[in-house]
Symmetry: C2
Subunit: 653 residues, 2 copies
């Protein structure tokens, strides 16, 4: 603020003589325009479900135009497709090839995570990306099966039907879950409930991903050590148990030799890619190289005869139709719905997070709800063409981005390559050693453990850190769903705690200004003799109204005690800065009334500064404005203080 | 604000030439003093559990003094007792007699609500009030059985053990529930969890009380119409069914005659008391008069021979010990704990609400946690002396207050009169017609239906109204617990909705000031060319971070469109007023970072105005301050605008 302003003077009582009492207030906190309940509800509804006003562009357009717009809205490809150029196509082809080479080995590996036959992984990288390319609005996301969702499906489905004894039924259940995952996603998008995904906070996701990564990594010890008998549990204890119980004769040294050496190779490639961003293709190509090399080695040495487990069977040809396999009736229907819903939501969170990240980098906006519709449709169609839940993959999307993809066309290219793979070379994959797949998975999920993010959480917000740890330990010690549940609960507990125990700050005047700030934050701020200024740092609700009242009265009591000790003038005015008070409910208003009653008994006048729109309306409706008096409601704390000083003056005069 | 101030000038770019660029800011938003995690947690813990700093007075006192203070803290009677005078005693005696005459008939009636023998009602008005008088801190509350809690106990206990076929076991279960109700209350108080009671919002309580009153009233039709077979369900449908199914031969005209005539008498008395506050004793005495008159009538006419049901059995003598009757083991223990906990909490809410109301009127403070400890101990002792859950009664406390009670001594007086009643005249009560008790209950619970409050809820806060209705219909159509549950859920849903979809308001300058206010609330406010000012009306959390980001970007897009249409200068600065943003979590900071990224792409500079203590700390820790630049964080929106204008100027110059 300026020194030459007169603000520093008006704050002292003496000077207020300089301004005539008659001086009218330039502005006052009047009664806001009354809204009908329908306007209120309508506004709430709109802001909750249609904050982005999706139909805006449709307004006053001819029907034909409306249809085209609608088509473009549902299939963005007809929108960006029109500006598609050969240049873009070139970069998309390169990106597409790169992610294809990365996805093929990953797909086979992830399918095993979900206890499905390897070809299902490839199927899921053929159809869904095509659908997404037409409906999705993200340009960088790479669609396909991902580690976490595969793990989640595997752990949720295998207790229902044992994949080993009854693989056919198990696959059917998986397809059922996929179908309902798609339905869930599409429904969330269609009913504009996209915001529910935000309830899984960043902190929770970080912890949950790290936990999942470690769980997945540990499970790979099965393949990496060539262990035959292995637990289906995912919690760290039972996994480690079944690892070391096998240590004596369960481990196979050839397998370990191959697995570990290639794992080192992959990690080195990763490291190179990290060090030099230009070499991003090194880690991208590495897995396929591993697969080819290891397959050759096994093929030549016939290591599979010496206990090195290999993929063995992998079906040739593209996705068989599977609509008839989905359980629409019978005992497994409900299970399928439940598991599908969970998997669908987790898949969403991952995809939406990725979409947002890259949208922010390239500064284009993606519509969460539209994305969900796209992902949903893609999984519904997928479930009818032998695909399991597909979504956006962190690792592949990053590669896609670095490879310079321009549009979703890179997904089409990728899916075409997967198509060729399925038609031609899948039989060769049967010699891939499981150890290599394990190595590929481990090197892929390692990135999901984001230590840096965790440290940041600790530094910035301890509560977020706790939520993150809750998710992490929940996942590794109990199960994926529980982990998520814990994190969500902690996150909301935080919000409620903040609402239940808001800060009630003591304000003081910043010398030389009419500004009043928290004296904790601004030690320079000085209190006003004869007046106490507090600010309530939250909306006033039933859950905090009594606290706010009591806390304020306590500030008052403490101050009065201080004043008595250092015989300062007794407090005659209580000013409440309402700026942060966005909303108030009836309990809150009762608290204010009680507060006012008890300070009136002590001949202290209540003043309100800068109450907002909603609050003002409610204060009027409740008649509290008349109780405090319209002229004790001020535009700023400064005005309030000036009014108090004037009153004090009049009395002393 | 003042006209002669220079604020109105500084807001226009042209004038900023008048102040030298070198002019130092008087104050700036620096880095707040860093708190260790332990300080943070410690503060949160203290404000959550010890906001009233209960041990303050104990600080640096000699042990002996500490002991005395401790004694007074647990037994306030040793505190206020010392200033007790004969004058106070006189008023307490009068008040005590008045509430005694009111409570005796009510006790007998309420005991029937809980399916207990009538004497248990009287027992519960003898011991608990004595305990409370020593430990309680409210001066006006009148302790004893109340309608709602009696109903709750009855409905929760009777499904477990049938009170008619197995009254002994039933009574034992009731005592068990009472014991654990006391334990729950004492525990809440002891562990400083008193604030949990606030989670039952005012709106919920209003609806719940009204619902309970109607349920109770309807149940009284049994007694009033002299129906023998009656449902144990409390929901309105099954009650009305069993009323009208009996209409043909179930009703007893003599009973109806007596019941209805006395009900009218009671209501008239109530009306008189309402019209003329001085005659408060008329409704207070009316019930006892009814009892005496009706008893005489029945005694003389032997109406009980003509199907008028009477109390029949009522035991003489004071509370027998009952500690040995409580189920500390066996199948009923768990049931007892669960029911006790529910009843205990409901009883608390009622008592605390009453305590607060009268404390506010007479301006003395009651310590919620201490109250709970008192009520808890009183019920624990009660459960060992044949009392069922007692708490503060709305109706009797009001009478107590109007009769001019000074201290809890009025409770002692009342309990002494109950004692005499038990010793001497109980046998006479056996002729009381049940119809009279029904009439007394109806006339008592009518007050619980507070139409005025409901209308106020509707006027002030639609959401509170919905919560209230939820509780109301939940209670009358389903059950008391469900009703409460519904209300609590709605109340919290509201808070979360408010946090998930905060208002992002567009701010404008109030002409002639440096103030920036919501242009919706202050139509006079005018926007600043080249700058967009928004205010986020909530803390920024994971649940709203994306919404806040998108909403802000939308404001930006809309404004830019407007500017293009009415070719105004393009927006170069985005100012976010952070005043209401009390807290921010990592998701929130990510949202800000994304926001900043995407506006930088459009060459728009981000400014933050007046971020609070917590937010500032986190912005520093996350390094976001360096991203925006320290000099783009301002003390007020005014400063921010001035800075923007200066920049715009420099560019144009």
């Amino acid at each position: 603020m300026s020194r030459i302003g007169d603000e520093n003077i008006v704050t002292s009582a003496a000077s207020s003589r300089r301004r005539p009492e008659s001086l009218p207030q330039l502005h006052s906190v009047g009664r806001p325009v009354k809204q009908t309940i329908w306007q209120e509800l309508g506004h709430t509804f709109k802001e909750t479900f249609f904050p982005d006003d999706p139909l805006k562009s449709f307004k006053d357009q001819p029907p034909s135009k409306k249809f085209v717009l609608g088509l473009r809205a549902v299939f963005p490809i007809f929108d960006w497709g029109r500006q598609y150029t050969l240049g873009k196509f070139k970069s998309d082809v390169i990106a597409g090839i790169t992610i294809a080479s990365l996805c093929i080995p990953q797909d086979i590996a992830y399918a095993k995570l979900a206890y499905l036959k390897p070809e299902y992984g490839l199927y899921s990288s053929f159809v869904p990306p095509l659908i997404y390319a037409f409906m999705g609005s993200s340009r960088d996301i790479a669609i396909g099966p991902v580690a976490v969702v595969s793990l989640l499906l595997g752990t949720l489905l295998s207790p229902v039907i044992d994949p080993e004894t009854n693989p056919v039924e198990y696959t059917r259940l998986a397809l059922t879950a996929t179908f309902f995952a798609g339905v869930t996603q599409a429904a969330l998008g269609f009913f504009r409930l996209g915001f529910l995904v935000d309830f899984l906070s960043h902190a929770a996701t970080v912890g949950f991903m790290a936990g999942a990564a470690i769980t997945i990594g540990l499970q790979q010890l099965k393949g990496l050590l060539g262990i035959k008998k292995f637990t289906k549990e995912t919690d760290i204890i039972s996994v480690l148990e079944s690892v070391f119980s096998q240590a004596q004769h369960g481990w196979n040294w050839q397998t370990i030799a191959i697995g570990v050496s290639f794992l080192i190779f992959l990690l080195v490639a990763k490291y190179i890619g990290k060090k030099n961003k230009k070499l991003f293709w090194v880690p991208a190509m590495a897995p396929l190289t591993c697969v080819i090399l290891s397959t050759l080695i096994v093929f030549v040495t016939r290591a599979d005869k010496h206990g090195v487990q290999i993929v063995k069977h992998i079906k040739k040809g593209i996705n068989p139709p599977s609509a008839d396999q989905i359980f629409f009736t019978g005992p497994y229907l409900l299970k399928g719905i439940k598991i599908g819903a969970i998997a669908g939501i987790i898949a969403l969170t991952e995809a939406v997070a990725i979409g947002r990240t890259f949208a922010a980098i390239k500064d284009y906006s993606i519509d969460g709800n539209k994305e969900m519709l796209a992902l949903g449709s893609m999984n519904i169609v997928g479930s009818m063409t032998s695909c399991y839940v597909a979504t956006g993959s962190f690792s592949r999307s990053a590669v896609n981005f670095m490879a310079g993809c321009q549009t979703a066309v890179s997904n089409i290219v990728m899916s075409m390559i997967v198509f060729l793979t399925l038609m031609v070379i899948t039989p060769l994959f049967k010699f891939i050693p499981n150890a290599i797949l394990a190595a590929i998975i481990i090197s892929a999920v390692i990135n999901l453990v984001d230590i840096g993010a965790v440290i940041l959480l600790w530094k910035i917000d301890k509560f977020d850190f706790i939520a993150c740890m809750g998710a992490f330990f929940g996942v590794i010690f109990i199960s994926v769903e529980i982990g998520i549940l814990i994190a969500v609960c902690i996150s909301f507990a935080k919000i409620l705690l903040q609402v239940t125990r808001p800060r009630v700050a003591l304000l003081g005047n910043l010398p030389g200004t009419t500004l009043y700030r928290n004296i904790q934050q601004y030690p320079a701020a000085s209190t006003i003799p004869g007046a106490l200024i507090v600010r309530v740092d939250s909306s006033i609700y039933f859950s905090n109204s009594n606290y706010v009242k009591d806390r304020t009265l306590r500030w008052l009591a403490d101050e009065e005690e201080l004043n008595r000790e250092s015989n300062l003038p007794k407090i005659q005015h209580l000013i409440i800065d309402m700026s942060p008070v966005i909303d108030i409910d009836t309990s809150g208003i009762h608290a204010l009334e009680d507060l006012n009653k008890s300070i009136q008994k002590r001949e202290i006048q209540l003043h309100l500064a800068n109450p907002g729109c909603v609050v003002m309306t409610k204060l009027y409706d409740s008649g509290f404005v008349d109780v405090v008096g319209q002229d004790n409601i001020h535009l700023t704390v400064g005005d309030a203080v000036r009014a108090c000083n004037r009153k004090i003056q009049e009395e002393t005069a």
